[in-house]
């Protein structure tokens, strides 16, 4: 039972990695990162059900708060980059390249 939940969490995390690797649209990359956070949350909650211990729920709450903070900041950065470059391509955003 719990094994299936953990397997689903692994599959979702790997799909998130594939999204980050294969896409160049900055929105899709950002949402793929959110997908990986969600997969980690599912793992926390599943193991918490296995051990009948609610620490995993609290950790999932913390991850959601961090994801909300990350969303606010990342979207502000995306707006700024779009204003400066007029583009959504992650390859254009290589400002720190030496």
């Amino acid at each position: 039972m719990i094994n299936n939940y953990l397997a689903l969490s692994i599959v979702l995390f790997c799909l998130g990695i594939l999204g980050v690797v294969s896409r160049r649209n900055v929105f899709v990359v950002f949402m793929a990162i959110e997908l990986m956070l969600n997969a980690a949350n599912l793992g926390f909650v599943a193991v918490s059900r296995l051990h009948v211990n609610m620490d995993g729920h609290v950790l999932a709450l913390m991850v959601m708060a961090v994801a909300a903070a990350e969303a606010a900041l990342a979207l502000a950065v995306i707006i700024l980059l779009h204003k400066h470059k007029g583009n959504l391509d992650t390859n254009i955003f290589s400002l720190l390249k030496g």
Binding site: L6, A7, L35, L61, M62, V66, N87
Partner: protein, 167 residues
């Protein structure tokens, strides 16, 4: 076994939504299919009897964060010609699958080797009251740190995006 059928249905929806996210060309379509993934994950939390996490997943993730992302996507008014040319997307996707698939297979094998037991629930497992009690006793310091992090993110977002006359 209703719970098993529900699990497989929701898991299928979640994986299909994630596939849609990484395969759709326009970020709007990707965001809509990601909402499907988030809502089916909320259903899975309910199946795991995590009632508080279920509600917060629906309100914060599927509600607040996704509507913020959708708002920004619509705000930037992205047309078909503004999208980056993902010409070698399938090449990178194939490379990623070759790297990730063995690791995923190994980890799924490890997950399958866990004990199959399904322990009995204690009273009030995953309730607002019990999780909140845990949050304000054992996890008090991380909770305060997260509140400071949210404040910093709020101020940072206002400073970054609220500037007038950047050029």
């Amino acid at each position: 076994m209703l719970a098993t059928y529900l699990f497989f249905g929701l898991a299928l929806l979640a994986v299909l939504g994630a596939l849609g996210l990484i395969l759709f060309k326009h970020p709007m379509n990707g965001a809509m299919s990601f909402v499907v993934t988030l809502i089916s994950l909320a259903g899975l939390y309910a199946l795991l009897s995590a009632k508080l996490i279920f509600a917060i997943q629906l309100i914060v993730y599927a509600g607040a964060i996704m509507s913020l992302i959708l708002f920004i996507i619509m705000f930037l008014n992205i047309q078909e010609r503004d999208l980056p040319i993902d010409s070698n997307r399938w090449f990178y996707l194939a490379g990623g699958i070759i790297v990730v698939a063995p690791i995923a297979g190994l980890m799924i094998k490890i997950a399958k080797s866990l004990p199959e037991e399904h322990p009995e629930l204690i009273d009030g497992f995953g309730d607002v009251k019990t999780v909140g009690h845990l949050l304000f006793t054992e996890w008090l310091l991380p909770f305060e740190i997260v509140s400071i992090l949210l404040l910093v993110a709020l101020v940072g977002a206002v400073v970054l995006a609220g500037k007038r006359g950047v050029n």
